[in-house]
């Protein structure tokens, strides 16, 4: 079972991103059993089927897919995966911030794909609370990445007040 970081701890988690097999269509593909993260297209096409299965729903957004597409559904989605096709593709940071700040999403936001030790600190600041690291990463060591900086200048999800409103008067 894949080991992920969830709320600062390493846990086993069965939920893996489901990718549409080549040639399959979102309308007709067989839905995977159990906990999963569905591609946006499948979720949009099969929302009612998925909810009828009864398991807490999960959906993943690719880096070119904005949270607007699922904004109205967020109350029914337990986990939103945000995919990083390459770690240098930074769109997912804005996606997470919009999910938290704009749409007040309180479920899990999980970074998936090219998720590396050295990006975890920023990801957490932007509202990610779960991280499925790339297979070659040292998950135990990665836990230390959340302590990289003792403070931060900007307002963000983990600290809504910018430093200038928190400096000792």
């Amino acid at each position: 079972m894949p080991r992920i970081i969830q709320n600062g701890a390493i846990v086993d988690d069965p939920r893996t991103p489901f990718r549409l097999p080549e040639g399959a269509s979102p309308e007709t593909v067989a839905l995977p059993a159990g906990l999963t993260l569905l591609p946006l297209a499948v979720w949009l096409a099969r929302r009612d089927d998925v909810l009828a299965l009864g398991a807490p729903a999960g959906v993943w957004l690719d880096s070119n897919e904005g949270p607007e597409a699922i904004a109205a559904d967020l109350g029914r989605i337990a986990v939103v995966g945000v995919n990083f096709p390459k770690f240098t593709d930074g769109r997912g940071y804005s996606t997470a911030r919009l999910l938290r700040d704009r749409y007040a999403y309180r479920g899990e936001i999980r970074a998936i794909g090219d998720v590396l030790h050295d990006q975890l600190f920023y990801m957490k600041r932007c509202g990610f609370d779960a991280f499925a690291l790339r297979a070659d990463q040292n998950v135990e060591k990665a836990l230390t990445a959340f302590r990289t900086f003792g403070n931060a200048y900007q307002a963000a999800v983990d600290q809504p007040q910018p430093l200038f409103r928190r400096r000792a008067a």
Binding site: G66, T88, Y122, R125, F149, A152, A169
Partner: protein, 571 residues
């Protein structure tokens, strides 16, 4: 200048520890070269033609004397005893050892310096006017705003992996000395143009940039009240981060997005995003502005008469001093004081280069004559901003002994020039030998002063680090069949009339460049009226006479009208 408190200091100390750990993991084989690359770039470390290059941040060009001394010490200990000032106020070490770079950053952190975000696809060092705080024509001191932007951009968690690099410049004077319209975001400090509120804020330009597709920034908002500065920057960056192109690095700058959408639609998207952020917690407070601005309070100037008799006598009696004053000394808002430029341009030395000894000499001059501070100009010179007129002759004498008093600021040989093909792996051609050939050809000071105000900038490739697009005469190195050639542009300008120059035709061989420049100058000298600068004559008579003379007697096909533009687009 801004002084770190314990939180600011902790932040850069944490950064050193993070970088040290990343380099250690890399050397232990746990962090691949590919995965390290964006991380080291965001700490200023490039791998170039001969090895690593380390770019150190000089935020908005401000250096304290102790920082300059530390740079001298680091250059001796970890490099070859010199450094190179860039067009973005930064300092580059061109010969560090890869594995010693964490030590360099640790040393610099002891004097509140770092290399944070001096490269990579993130928000870079914010730049401004080298005469900030002392220029008679400024509305306000831009530096507190620059520092506020520096803190906002430092480790911004959402915008560390943008489609491409992102540069912000601030101008707060009547005359723009920061080329703000050649930046991704240009901020011009203004009073509410409606006159209704008496409020101050910024005119916001977006989408300027040089490089392969030079474009001037367009106004996205005529007036942004100052307290909204950071939320508005967040909105612009978020639109760019989400929708800027990531499929082609050459089309990834924000200028391409602004062009593709049109500035009205881009502005609409920014405003729509900003509607959610405006008045949020990141809204600036007067208390924060005051806290930062206090560090930029004027130094304890002495009450002095504006005229100094000794200075006037030296001006009268010493021709060489007078020539230097004419070019290198600048007006100051406080009576009896002046700002002066220490030139880093002279034959035999790459523009912007400075030795460790010179750094220490400048630090001494700053301590004795200019309240311990130095500025870096985007023209790759240094500035002492607060010198008593009565001290100018002494400072000139000392600077001259260090080779820092070339009296050519704003003249032909005050060239902006990138390191070029000698060092940079992106370059198509060398640029420093061209600069040196120009220095040799035009070393007669009387001739240079007679030619008067003109800009000549040199870039070794389309990335345009040498700002050749915005100089009256621009030289661009191009590669043709593995040979170095040089394309010439005419008519570029910086300042309030910022203009992109136009290519005059087919490129020239390196040895032809000084002749071509001389030909262009000859046309000007023949045609000028007594009041005209080079650019004025060019604008009045058009570029044709210049082109004709440049190619006269050269065995080269005369270009069709648009031939040259196509060349640039295909380069």
């Amino acid at each position: 200048m801004y002084r770190y408190d314990s939180i600011d200091q902790q932040m850069i100390d944490d950064r050193v520890a993070q970088y040290r750990d990343q380099m250690a993991r890399h050397l232990a084989g746990e962090l691949s070269g590919d995965d390290l690359r964006p991380l080291r770039l965001q700490n200023g470390l490039y791998i170039q033609r001969h090895g690593p290059m380390h770019r150190i941040a000089v935020p908005y060009g401000m250096l304290a004397s102790r920082q300059l001394r530390k740079l001298a010490e680091v250059s001796r200990r970890y490099d070859r005893g010199y450094g190179h000032f860039t067009t973005r106020h930064n300092l580059q070490f061109h010969w560090p050892k890869f594995e010693e770079t964490p030590e360099i950053l640790a040393e610099l952190a002891t004097v509140q310096m770092h290399a944070i975000q001096t490269s990579g696809n993130c928000v870079r060092n914010v730049t401004t006017d080298q005469f900030a705080g002392v220029a008679p024509d400024e509305l306000t001191d831009p530096r507190p705003w620059c520092e506020i932007i520096r803190q906002w951009s430092t480790f911004h968690p959402e915008f560390a992996f943008l489609p491409r690099k992102f540069k912000i410049a601030v101008n707060a004077a009547a005359s723009d000395r920061a080329v703000i319209r050649a930046h991704d975001i240009g901020l011009e400090f203004v009073r509410d143009p409606s006159g209704e509120t008496g409020d101050s804020g910024f005119r916001v330009f977006v989408g300027g940039g040089l490089g392969r597709t030079p474009i001037l920034g367009k106004v996205v908002r005529e007036f942004l009240p100052w307290r909204h500065l950071l939320t508005y920057l967040d909105a612009i960056l978020r639109v760019y981060n989400r929708y800027g192109r990531r499929d082609n690095a050459f089309k990834a700058r924000i200028k391409i997005l602004v062009q593709a959408l049109g500035v009205e639609e881009f502005a609409r998207q920014v405003e729509a995003e900003w509607a959610h952020l405006a008045d949020g917690p990141a809204t600036l407070t007067a208390a924060e502005f005051d806290r930062v601005a206090a560090d930029f309070a004027p130094p304890p100037y002495a009450p002095l008469p504006d005229e100094d008799l000794g200075f006037s006598a030296h001006l009268r009696d010493d021709k060489a001093f007078a020539a230097w004053v004419r070019r290198n000394v600048h007006a100051h808002k406080v009576p009896g004081y002046a700002a002066l430029t220490l030139s880093l341009k002279k034959p035999g030395v790459p523009p912007g280069d400075i030795t460790a000894e010179q750094m220490e000499a400048v630090a001494d001059l700053a301590d004795r004559y200019s309240f311990g501070e130095v500025r870096v100009s985007h023209e790759q010179n240094l500035v002492l901003a607060d010198v008593r007129k009565s001290d100018l002759h002494t400072v000139w004498t000392l600077a001259r002994a260090q080779g820092l008093a070339t009296p050519t600021v704003g003249l032909l040989t005050d060239m902006i020039c990138c390191p070029g093909g000698d060092l940079c792996s992106l370059a198509n051609a060398r640029s420093v030998p061209i600069a040196d050939a120009v220095q040799q050809r035009f070393e007669d000071l009387d001739y240079l002063h007679d030619i008067g105000e003109i800009s000549l900038n040199i870039s070794g490739c389309m990335n345009s680090c040498g700002h050749h697009h915005v100089s009256n005469i621009g030289i661009l190195g191009v590669d043709k069949n593995d040979e170095e050639w040089y394309q010439v542009t005419l008519g570029g300008q910086q300042g309030n009339d910022t203009t992109i120059g136009k290519v005059i035709g087919p490129s020239f061989a390196a040895e032809e460049v000084p002749d071509v420049i001389e030909a262009l100058i000859d046309v000007y000298l023949e045609q000028r009226t007594p009041e005209e600068r080079f650019i004025d004559t060019l604008l009045r008579i058009g570029s044709e006479p210049f082109k004709a003379r440049a190619y006269q007697g050269r065995d080269r096909r005369k270009p069709a009208a648009n031939d040259s533009e196509r060349k640039v687009a295909n380069a």
